[in-house]
């Protein structure tokens, strides 16, 4: 956050910023005895103005302007050491930036208690009594503080969002009108270059006004019921007929790597929406700056101030760009595969561009370029509360980029809910501020960024990260790995249990349907608990199909999840068919081997136990993509452990299966049967696997082969592009 520009008394400052910082430092050596952590570049012209005598209106306004910056906030100054260096701590980084900027111009906040504030104005300490403070809230969208000067004059200093401020500013004289117009022009300029703006105003309070306000304020602030409403009403007494002083513009810097991250996410087939509290111009300029919006985009702006107005705007836009209504649209949408919605939060994060991959699928002829939908919070009030939701949904899902500005915290959640309730898509919300909490909680996946804006977002989130760019790694690398692992694991667990149960089931055909189990009770229990559980866990945690470099380099590999490649109904039934075959092999091969022989029930049960354990472990081993030492230990170890358990169980004389395995292990048919079962059971699966990998490879398979065979994957997109259309 950095203070960038200011409009004071109708004059724009801040263009000659980086001129003479060093000069200024020597100049203001006397004044600036306080050091701050962040150095602020200072406009020389404004600085000169500040050194004039307090005579003309402009000079007074400038004084009030900086006084407001210093006083009208909740920043606490903390002295770091003896030589007067001060650190500012506050809940809002915007306010910190403003206070730091004021300090650079010689207005240093030295001390703040609930009763008074000490400001150092160019080396002169000024003690101000705080009579009352109306904190910022999202309804008023402004903050005011009432202070008494040493000379007993009382002033109210207000700062707030432009829309809310211009409605409470006095416009009785020509001069005031001119000033308002000038300031408004500056505000538009600022926001169109992506700066975040605030309007500053002040007013002298007369004795009568003060008394009236003080009385109400005391009542309201000690009220036990509806205090917030009463305080709001009280605030309206002082926050009226204000005289405009100026406006500030703060640059909210992009974090490192944000455009690249958004670019990757969009390549990965994730739709990126931006929901911000900034004003429309700011949002659009930020969108343009980071190429979320491009010049070839057609922009649909929904900016209505009534329900009918919004409805008309929506319907017009739909008619113009030929958006089909929900039912027909659904099909189209499904065809395109379900894409994630990625709701990004305020101007912290901006977006990159490029035509999303499925643009070509759309058949609308009129659309010449990608569409961008810009919608503001006022319209959303009408749309989300009335029955225009579906219209918005149709239009928004049709557009490539959706930008919502001036959105209140609850509206952010409302938009996430709009998508969540109408599609099966997964939504992910990422944000760093307290105003993102409801959105983060509403989305399927909520991510909080630990930043300057406190930890509320982090505490409400599923995942917390330090920077926005880590989102790329979270989704493309860990998201991919986890999807592949969990999908395989689900199928494998179905298989692992079904093959065992089916094998037990077939035996009832040979036991006069009396549900005898040839396996000992202990083996049945230990099968899931010990014999086959550890490799499942290890593979579910450690297996990787591709390394992270490949995944980061080719974001489109993330599409495997969108297309449900690793887990779907078809795969499920194929796995079940394979399971059926394997269970039949497991059952019948020992049956044929020991047909008309002296084999007893426990020997056959022992053979079946070890055969199924070996089989499911080798089955898993066949599908492991990356062998590490732990995987080796788990897979082969669990076979050994199974043998160990069986040796133990067969060494207890009171079990009817006493000594079985020792007898069996001495007979060659036992070993030959186990090998035969394993090979015959896995042969079909192996064949299908190699034929598929050879002739119908998936993107992941291609990338994997490239990764392994060529060390560094090259020229993948060609083959893949052919498949994805």
């Amino acid at each position: 956050m950095e203070f960038w520009k200011a409009s004071v008394y109708g004059k724009d400052y801040g263009d000659m910023l980086d001129l003479e910082v060093s000069l200024l430092k020597s100049n203001g050596a006397g004044a600036r005895k306080y050091k701050h952590k962040s150095e602020v570049a200072v406009d020389t012209e404004l600085m000169k103005l500040l050194h004039r005598e307090l005579t003309d209106a402009e000079r007074v306004a400038t004084h009030e302007f900086f006084l407001t910056l210093v006083v009208c906030n909740t920043v606490i100054p903390i002295s770091l050491d003896d030589n007067g260096s001060i650190d500012y701590q506050g809940e809002s980084p915007d306010e910190q930036a403003l206070v730091a900027a004021a300090a650079a111009y010689g207005y240093t906040l030295c001390e703040r208690t609930s009763g008074h504030i000490v400001v150092d104005v160019n080396g002169e300490k000024l003690r101000l009594d705080v009579l009352g403070l109306h904190e910022f809230d999202s309804v008023r969208k402004r903050m005011s503080v009432v202070i008494r000067f040493p000379n007993n004059s009382v002033k109210v200093l207000v700062k707030g969002a432009d829309t809310s401020m211009f409605s409470v500013i006095a416009k009785n004289t020509d001069k005031a009108d001119d000033l308002a117009r000038e300031t408004q022009k500056h505000l538009t300029d600022y926001s169109s270059i992506g700066l975040r703006t605030l309007v500053i105003a002040a007013k002298d309070l007369s004795k009568a006004e003060l008394e009236q306000w003080q009385c109400r304020y005391e009542n309201a602030s000690t009220s036990l019921t509806d205090r917030a409403i009463k305080l709001r009403q009280t605030a309206s007494i002082v926050e009226s007929e204000l005289s405009l002083v100026g406006a500030t513009a703060i640059e909210d810097r992009l974090q490192e790597g944000v455009p690249e991250t958004i670019e990757s996410l969009r390549q990965a087939g994730i739709k990126v929406w931006v929901l911000t509290g900034d004003k429309q111009e700011t949002a659009i300029s930020i969108g343009l700056a980071c190429k979320l919006l491009t010049s070839d985009m057609q922009m649909i702006v929904i900016n209505g101030n009534s329900e009918t107005n919004c409805r008309n705007l929506l319907l017009d836009a739909k008619a113009k760009y030929g958006v089909a209504s929900t039912c027909a649209k659904r099909k189209n949408f499904e065809l395109k595969s379900s894409a994630d919605k990625n709701d990004l939060q305020p101007a912290n994060y901006k977006t990159s561009s490029e035509v999303p991959q499925w643009e070509s699928v759309k058949e609308e002829a009129e659309v010449n370029g990608p569409l961008a939908l810009v919608i503001d919070g006022n319209s959303l009030v009408y749309i989300l509360e009335k029955d225009l939701e579906s219209e918005l949904f149709d239009l928004a899902t049709f557009c490539n980029v959706v930008l919502c500005c001036r959105v209140a915290p609850l509206q952010k959640a409302g938009i996430v809910d709009l998508i969540k309730s109408r599609t099966d898509d997964m939504t992910l919300a990422i944000g760093d501020g307290a105003n993102d909490v409801s959105m983060i909680q509403m989305a399927d996946v909520g991510i909080g960024i630990c930043g300057q804006e406190g930890r509320q977002a982090v505490m409400a989130s599923d995942f917390a990260m330090g920077q926005f760019r880590f989102l790329k790694r979270l989704l493309l690398v860990h998201g991919h790995w986890n999807y592949q692992r969990i999908a395989y694991l689900v199928l494998y667990n179905f298989y692992r249990n079904a093959v065992f149960v089916l094998m037990l089931f077939w035996y009832i055909l040979c036991s006069a349907f009396s549900t005898t189990s040839a396996l000992t009770d202990w083996s049945s229990v230990l099968y899931s608990v010990i014999y086959t559980s550890i490799p499942t866990v290890v593979v579910g945690v450690l297996d990787k199909d591709l390394n992270h470099r490949t995944l980061l380099e080719y974001p489109k590999l993330y599409g495997a999840g969108h297309r449900h490649e690793a887990y779907n109904l078809h795969l499920f039934w194929v796995t079940m068919l394979d399971t059926l075959w394997q269970s039949l092999v497991l059952f019948y091969i020992p049956l044929f081997t020991y047909n008309e022989s002296t084999v007893d029930m426990w020997s056959l049960g022992s053979l079946w136990t070890i055969a199924v354990v070996i089989l499911v472990n080798i089955h898993l081993a066949m599908d492991i993509q990356q062998w590490v030492s732990i995987t080796q230990m788990a897979v082969w170890g669990s076979i050994f452990i199974s043998y160990g358990c069986m040796l133990l169980l067969d060494s207890i004389p009171v079990f009817p299966n006493y000594w079985t395995i020792y007898h069996l292990a001495a007979s060659p048919p036992y070993w030959l049967t186990i090998i035969l079962i394993t090979i015959i059971a896995l042969l079909p699966r192996f064949l299908v696997k190699i034929v598929y990998q050879r002739f119908w490879p998936s993107d992941i398979q291609i990338a994997r082969e490239a990764e392994i065979l060529l060390e560094r994957p090259v020229s993948l997109p060609k083959k893949r592009g052919g498949r994805s259309t």
């Binding site: 549900t515 029930m601 990356q626 048919p669």
Partner: protein, 332 residues
Amino acid sequence: MMSGDREISSGSRAVASQIRRCRGCEKALNQFTQQNLPACKPLLTPASVITIFLVLGVAFIPTGIIALHASQKVTEIVERYDADCVPPEYRNNKVAYIQDSSIPKNCSRTVKVEKHMKAPVFIYYQLDNYYQNHRRYVKSRSDQQLLQGLNYSKTSSCKPEESSNGLPIVPCGLIAWSLFNDSYTFSRGMELLQVNRTDISWKSDRDHKFGKDVYPFNFQNGSFIGGGTLDPNIPLSNQEDLLVWMRTAALPTFRKLYGRIEEDLHPGDLIEIDLLNNYNTYSFGGKKKLVLSTTSWLGGKNDFLGVAYIFVGWSSIFMALVFLLLHLRYPM
């Protein structure tokens, strides 16, 4: 982690050496938590697929041939006697015949030896359609009682053959109660063939599972007679027929070892079998067969393993060829 390492390296030497010892485990832990363990990534290339199939084929075909050869060398004589041993007048009511103890059950059969049978020749009886693996049958035994005899009284698992006439039965349970009791003697011409009936059960059963000082008690005294009786003066651990019988069979068609003839049988020998056809399999349509068989390292006569191995081996070779051709036709 990295910066931690750097800090450590600038520390004092004593600490550094101590750390260095642990750096191996620290590094391993780091690799584990960061999932960076050294890994082997198997890839099914055409070459490896063809190799796998070839190796399978090369390993399986000889094994199959050896197994098949071993099975072929086993000579087996199977004689079914349950139907023919019933006197003609009882053919329509075999159950009445078998249940009537006044009718003598002697029966005589003659089998001809076709091939040379090298000693020992194993004698099995084979029962068909006999569900020794039925759930209630299998559970109807008390392993504790077999070991401890009358000292052990919690024999509820033995129901319905738990006690008779108010006294406990040793050995209790349906399995013991239904003990097989046909008996066989063999003679070649005028010469009686010695049948060795010891060591037909598992040594582990004799030593640890059946009590050496547990004697049959109140056995087969009930109103329903299941099968054979036991000599109450011989401890259970020496009642080898019982031991064999109580290793319940896994499948409804099974063989159990009766004894061994420890002489070679020569081609053309006529073996006369005198048997007592006591055991009732007629009431459930079971068959009874007598089997004389030699043995090999693979056990009895069963071609399945050999044939299956050869089949899988050849299929593997075939698939190796198919994939080789495919690879040549459509190179990567």
